[in-house]
Structures are given as C-alpha cells and as structure tokens.
Symmetry: C2
Subunit: 423 residues, 2 copies
Amino acid sequence: MVKKTAKDQQIIRMAQNAKLAALSLALVPTKTKNKILKHLAQVILDHQDFIVKENKKDLKAARKQNYPKALVDRLVLDDKRIIEMSKCLKDTAALADPVGDVLETFERPNGLIIEKVRTPIGVIGIIFESRPNVTSDCIGLCLKSGNAAILKGGKEAFYSNKTIFKLIRDALKQTEIPYQAVQLIDSTDRAAVHIMLGLDQYVDLIVPRGGEGLIRFVAENSRIPVVKHYKGVCHTFVSDKADLAMAVDICVNAKVQRPGVCNAMETMLVSERIAGEFLPIVFEHLTAAGVEIRGCSRTRRILKNKPNKADELDWTTEYLDLILSVKVVKDLDAAIVHINTYGSRHSDAIVTENKSEAEKFFKSVDSACLYHNASTRFTDGYQFGFGAEVGISTDKLHVRGPMALEGLTTYKYCIRGKGQIRT
Amino acid sequence: MVKKTAKDQQIIRMAQNAKLAALSLALVPTKTKNKILKHLAQVILDHQDFIVKENKKDLKAARKQNYPKALVDRLVLDDKRIIEMSKCLKDTAALADPVGDVLETFERPNGLIIEKVRTPIGVIGIIFESRPNVTSDCIGLCLKSGNAAILKGGKEAFYSNKTIFKLIRDALKQTEIPYQAVQLIDSTDRAAVHIMLGLDQYVDLIVPRGGEGLIRFVAENSRIPVVKHYKGVCHTFVSDKADLAMAVDICVNAKVQRPGVCNAMETMLVSERIAGEFLPIVFEHLTAAGVEIRGCSRTRRILKNKPNKADELDWTTEYLDLILSVKVVKDLDAAIVHINTYGSRHSDAIVTENKSEAEKFFKSVDSACLYHNASTRFTDGYQFGFGAEVGISTDKLHVRGPMALEGLTTYKYCIRGKGQIRT
C-alpha cells in the first residue's frame, strides 16, 4: 500500500464531492439545467478578453518550448473560438434532455409493470489534451445529461483550462446546480491521472481524448470503465461496380479535406477489375492535393511514376497526414477481410452502385460507422445531429461511434407492483 | 515481458479462432441458429446418462475434498437438471433474435440516412464457478445473439463442463455454425484466466459469475471490459404510509424465500413513525422462519427479546443467509441516503401506498432495479421475461440489471449516401 500524498487526498476528496453532487444533480429539472447552460454561455462571452489574456500565457509557454505549429494552433483561443465555445453551451441547452426517457415498458404475467428509464451515469472523468474548449463543451454535455464531471486537461493548456473552469464554477455557485458537480484536476502530471483511474467507488466512466499514448496509458491503468478510440485507420473500398467519378470525389474528400483527424481515410482499397482505369485518375487528383501514395505491388505496376511501396506496417498506420496507402484487392470479400484484419473499427466506406454489395459490406465489416457512397469524414457528433460530442468510441460496449448526450446516460428498471412476492 | 508457455499459446490460439468464427457467425440467419439450438437441446437429452456419469466424477471429488453441502448441491446434474438444460436451449431458440434490429433511423439535412443497427458484440469470455449448466445456458445465449463464447469453468465442475462442452462442440461440427465459435479453457487454475484477461485484441467482453473473490480478481486484472456485480446488498424500506400487512409479506419473501441469492434482502429500513407497530409483527414472522435479526439501537429498544446489535459493517454485508440487519430511519430521505451510501446498486424496494413517495424513491436511489410494493426477488432474467440470463450487472455502463440477449449485442451505424462529401 503506497502512502497517499496531500495531492492524492485532494483528488479523492474531489471525486467524493463529485459523487455527492451527482446524486442531487440527477434530480434537477430540464428547464433549470437549460436556463443555467444559457447563463454559462453568457458568462463565457462576458469574459472574452480575460480568457484571451490567460490563453496568451499558455501560447507564450508553448512557443518557448517550440511545440509543433499544429499543437499551438489547437491551443489558441481567439474571439471566434470563444464565441463558438459560448454557442456550444447554448446549443447544448437546446438539445433534448435524455434523462427520464422511458425506453421500454412491459407487463409481466404476475402484473408487475417494468419500466426501463434513462438516467445519468453519475460521475464522468474526462482526460484530454491541448484544445481548451473541451473544458466548457464537456461540462455542458455532462451537466445537461445530469452527470458530474471531473476534468483533467493537458499541461500545455494549464492557464486556459483553469480560467474557463473557474468562470463556470463561480457562476454555478449562484445556481440550483451544485458547483461541486464540476471539478478540475490542475496537476500537470500523469500521477494525478493515475490516482483518478483507481477511484472506481466514486467515478463511473473515464473518457480519454488525445493521442494514442495518452489513451493507452488510461486504458492500461484504469479500474473504471473507459470509452475510447485509440486511432482511426479508416478505409474506402472502390468496387468495380462504383460510379468512378463519385469514387474520386469521395476518396479525395476523405483523405484531403482535413487529414489530421481520426475519420480521415488512411487506406484506399480498389477492386482489381477497375484498378487500371481508376487508379491513374484518382492519383492525379490526390497528387495535385499534395498526397503521397504508398502502394501495394499491383498499385505500383499500374501507376507510371512509381509511388513508394507500402509495407505491412502501413496497413495499420494512422498517418494523420497527406499520406495514403493503396491496395488493389480481388473483390468485395478481400476488401472486407483486409478491413477486419488491419482496421481500427472506426469508419469505413464502400463506393458501389450495387445495393447488395453495400448490404454485405454493412453486415460484414466490424466497425462503428459504415458508409455507402459517402465520405468517412461524416463520423462526428455534429454531423450526426447529436450536438457536440464527448468523443468517438471504437469500443463495442456501451456506446459506439460519436458519443454525446445519450452516451452519457445509463438506465434503471423501475418496477411497480401491488404486493407481488416470489413463490 | 514474461515468456509464454505452451498453455498460454493455446489460449491465445483459442481466442484468435473464436474471433474469426465470430465474424462468420454474425452472418448466420436467425432460422439456422434456431434450428441448431433445437438440435443441441436434443443432443443434451440424448446423452443424459453419459452426462450423469461424468458429473459423478466431480461429485466424488467434491465429497472427498469435503466441499460445503451447498456447493455440492449446485454441482449435481441429475435427470431433472439435464432436462432443464435442454429446455433452456430450446427456449433460447424461441426467443426473438435481437441481431439486425434497427434501433433508430434518421436523415440528415445533406440527405445522409443514418441507421443504428443491432449487431453481435463478437467474442464473449465467461468465467464461472460451480453450476455446470452455465456451460450450455451461456453457449445458447451467445450463439443466439451471434457471439462466439470462450468459457472457463471452475475446477470443481471439471468433468461436467468438459462433457457438456464436447457434446455441443461435436454437434456443431455438422452445422452451419463454425464450431470454433465455442471454446472451453479446461485449465483448472487462475493463470489461464489471467492470460485470457489480457487478450483485448480478440475478446470483446468478460462476464464473471461466482463469488466476490473471483469477480474482484477478474475486475482488477482485466484489460477487456467486464460486466459484473460484486454482491447484492438489497434493501426494503417500509414507509409510514405502507400497507403493513403487504410490507410483512414482501419483507418475509425478500429475506426468506431463497436467502442464498443476490436479490434477497439483506437490510430492512423502517420509518420511525410505524416502527413500534410494524417491527414486532414482522419480527414474529421472520423469527418463525429462522431469521436472525441484527438491529440498530432503536430496533433493539422496540423489540422485547433484544436481537443482536448491528454494527457499521452489517450495513454493507451480503449475508446470503437467514440473517437480516434492521434500521429505524427518520423518513424516506434518510432511507434514500442509507441505500445510496451502503447499498450495492442491485435491487431495492419501497413499500408505500403513496405514489409520490414511490416516484421520489425511483428517481433518487441509484440502483439497477427499484421496486414499489414488490419483492426484490424478482430481479432475474426469467422473471423479467428475458429468457435465460448471462448474469446481473450492477455496473452502469452497457447493461444494468439482468443481462440476456440484448445485453450481448452492440450496434453499428450504417450510413447511406449518394456521393456526399464534407465541405
């Protein structure tokens, strides 16, 4: 038994307070929650200049440490982003409240009436990196769904997260929502995360958001259930029955429109029957957009200016960059086997004009989101119409794909009797 | 990195084979699955004498080792129990197949049509103790819901489990279900369990069934999601607005009808306003049934032949025996706080004639199953009408309460487009 430090004790107290707050938050009516979310949206707007000022401290430190430009970009909170943060809270207020929904009602032969009712989960731990808007977005979703939230941001956004959190927490003190329902662990090290991951008596769910390293650390050390995705190795299969012009548009969009995100395509699979015709056309568009191709041997035979060779590792790599691995496959079955073997169960697409091919793809590919004649880039809480999202799950338990308000709920059975006993 | 033994390698191969089998099992039509389940039911009946003979080897070993009588009772496979096993497989064939159910369909403004479709989870690991009928019951539920199953039974049922498993597996070899979809780890030690719990690339879900020790071992060592309940510390709160005759029936039933199971009552909470009237009456019935009372100080003042004293530990103890802890509480609020503090989130009941009291109890108590005017003993897959059950969950993620076919499924999003790309 390792002795607990004062810092450890502080995190344990946070979790205990969050649990108590969650029990009363679960009873707050929808109207009140919405009113308070709109108030929080206004508080963010009212403190725009202050947030920008505090954010500059993080940006200064990041530049001093020579953080990559992409990371610094994600850190920035300018007026536009702060208005978006505020809007997200307002939008969350406008979403339907899932709590209290009756999912099923059934009567048993003995007269018992069993109702399955949606309820909040309890206490949600969210561990995230860089983007400080996650602080207010996730607090909004958790409060709307009746859950307490314990946040732990990355050290690179220390001042920004702390500022947004403090504004929200101070504002909550004047409301019917117990302010202890939101908690921020402002340690900058992983030891604090480690303590939280052991508190399964208080915390019901952990959602890690960030790089694969962070997520593996969380998954390997948590005694609390985790909803996560490690990475998105997304595929598009172009069938010999595809509309090839449509296939070009979809593949270019899935790779190029925003290559640094998890729902971008990383591997293109092409039916051998149309590879000779399709590959040169799509290659031209991809190359024009700056994409580097890594091809299987057949791809390299077809394309004149021989692209780089794809090796076994490429099939499981999430490039998050303008790089694409390409494989010529025999047919739909071979495409399905490739995706189920090398994919990450995130988002995969088929382009075909043949409906039964699409249905077979839907049935056989073991991924969260499957697309027929559309870009994988649509896997996103906003695009699905869920409002904001807490994350995307490639797990199979509890929630799959974009996770929003419903993913933040569980259910209980409420059973009404007239004195029934078991014989 | 610990070197892998031949036994470890064997378990890894089992899991790999199960994963491959699961992918094709997911495509087997309902009719075929039902036909095969009925066939398996017949195979069990046809080998009744053989099963009894093999079971006797386990019983002999158990008696030799002086296992407790209750455990030996659970081990016995007599003709009656084998007929029940067979019936369970036949009943499972008759249940509705959840796979393929469309849970939701919605169209987005860009014309994408998103369908949320129920699918099998994949590979389910079931780790259980004593009762060998779990082998066939769980194989039935897993196959019906399109999942592969890896079973690991207790050493006390070694011969019984192996026999039932082999009969089923041999029978599957003649069918459209890949026989590798069922696997049995016949090691008798926990090292084998430990290997399985690390195979998160092949196994999607672990369900442990047995004593709290086994379940804690699994929860603490698993990298795979676990659905479980540690124990059932179930409460009945008798309000001052209760029909006291009904309250007596419900409390006696919840404690006495089968005290050794997780949905039996362990603590009775009584409103102080009726404690003086109610306690002597219920005490008489409970004592007549052989129940030992452990009371709070107020309970002990009310009851003439002073019962034993309940201490802090009693409030969290699952006796699984004819023992009941009793506490007099101020009111409904105090009962709710007691249950949320000491309970195990399993099943809790309120007896009251006042509907708004019942609604408050339903909203405020954080348990899987809540009862108004009925015995907690109804928390059970059969009683809920789910057919058999794989287990009961007091977790909040994925599934809560009795877990049967639906709890063995997940969903995927199937999205149909006409060439939509993201702008």
